[in-house]
């Protein structure tokens, strides 16, 4: 499901959006002016080394921060603050420990004035069943595993029915098996609900598995270096050789970026033999 060329008006439009932070060490350029159009219903992935500004860009689209320059348009309108239409998922689940699972999902629904209590409950239950955790509606967060918590976080983000889902390395803290399972869930839910998803990761295979388009970021200060189209059929599995091949394409691009611009250690200045003579070759060397 690409749709990028088919739609005329972009869902999200970045026009020269950049972000600078004032720190004690002076002005930090986190994101260089970026221009990008994101289509409705597209699954877009941002990939890049740590600190390259991809999470900053996500925060700008979410409305949690304002761009230093340029503008961000959603459905043709300027955004100034977080809103229902853009919900965000974080690496740490950010679920509230003082509420049970169902109340957590209902949390974002309180603002919808047209729903009464019973209706909120119904909506929450529906999304809970979508992530297949109906049996846990009265459990508290500490009783769930990492993967389950992220599924609940997904249900919470989906419940207010946003058109855009922003996901900031949501599977980063999970083990490989759980991640595999969640890739399937996420694609299923995306196909069912047809949301626009903007996903940030540093894992290239994950990017190739999930994204219609993958944007590779450069090192800090960040900007989008290249964009890959992944034209594989859905639903994709992480162990599919075709996915690996696409991931390898992206990785090559990423590697040149990371290694080219990284500082190389000064080989002459480090005398490994001398260090070894100081600390000994093994632990038992008479220290």
């Amino acid at each position: 499901m690409t749709g990028a060329a088919a739609k005329i008006a972009a869902k999200v439009s970045l026009r020269g959006a950049s972000k600078r932070f004032e720190t004690k060490k002076g002005l930090l350029e986190a994101l260089l002016p970026t221009t990008l159009d994101i289509a409705d219903g597209e699954f877009l992935v941002f990939v890049g080394p740590s600190g390259c500004g991809k999470s900053t860009l996500l925060n700008l689209i979410a409305g949690l921060e304002e761009p230093s320059e340029g503008e961000i348009l959603v459905d043709g309108k300027h955004i100034t603050a977080p809103g229902y239409d853009r919900m965000m998922l974080f690496q740490e689940h950010a679920l509230f420990p003082w509420l049970n699972v169902l109340h957590n999902i209902e949390f974002g629904l309180k603002r919808k004035k047209n729903l009464n209590r019973a209706e909120r409950r119904e909506v929450a239950r529906y999304y809970l069943s979508l992530v297949r955790l109906e049996k846990f509606e009265n459990s508290y967060i500490h009783e769930l595993s990492g993967g389950m918590r992220q599924r609940v976080a997904l249900a919470r983000a989906l419940a207010p029915n946003p058109t855009i889902l922003l996901m900031d390395e949501p599977f980063g803290a999970l083990d490989a098996l759980t991640r595999d399972e969640l890739y399937g869930y996420l694609q299923e839910i995306w196909q069912k609900t047809k949301k626009t998803i903007i996903f940030v990761t540093h894992n290239v295979r994950e990017a190739a598995c999930l994204g219609d388009r993958v944007c590779v970021f450069s090192n800090r200060p960040g900007k989008i270096k290249s964009v890959f189209q992944i034209k594989l059929p859905r639903i994709r599995y992480i162990n599919d050789p075709a996915v690996s091949a696409e991931g390898a394409r992206v990785l090559t691009e990423l590697k040149t970026e990371v290694f080219e611009t990284q500082e190389k250690p000064n080989e002459k200045a480090v005398n490994h033999d001398r260090i070894l003579s100081l600390i000994g070759h093994t632990m038992g060397d008479g220290i």
């Binding site: 977080p82 950010a94 508290y140």
Partner: protein, 216 residues
Amino acid sequence: MVFDRLNELIADHSLPVGICCSLKRLCLGYAMTLAVGFTLGILLGWSNWLRESVGTLLMGFQSLPSVAWVPLATIWFGLSETAIYFVIVMSSVGAVAMSVSDGIHGVNPLYLRAARTMGVTDVGMVTRVVLPAAFPSIITGLKLGWTFGWHGVVAAEMMQALPGLGFLLHMGRELGDMSQVLGIMFVVIAIGFLVERLFFGAVERRIRERWGLKTK
């Protein structure tokens, strides 16, 4: 002997009256402490520089035992109920304010970010996110405040002529009646223990249930 004396005091109504008066004063005084303590705590929690200046002062306050407030209370308010309320509030407000402030300061900023993406208003942020998130820390201070308040009531009543447990304790001393002294001490301890177990204990258990073993 102690129990006989206690029975006598119950019979002539001075013990029940004493308990009621002391508890009533503590409840009212504690309510005042909560009002002042929460307001102060929220202000300190939000503002870093306030917390560093006024907060440190408040910490110093806590090193003053409840009894030490009695002379000041007597000078300012004489032998009156007001003096007793003054002692209660001054001994307990520090603990409440500090725990509210620390609790608020310690809230994981991730909760605030998540809440903002769900469109929570500023007031809603405080009531629906910050205070519940800070509650495990706050409850510790609430319990401490209650204990200090209880100390304060008994201490203040000892200097007054108004009915109360402190007064009965004082009378016991005046009359050289050890059974009365020990009996009242037992009552004071028993009430403190009961409130802590039944009320605060239940609240803390509920928190453990919800939050898991990560309660502060």
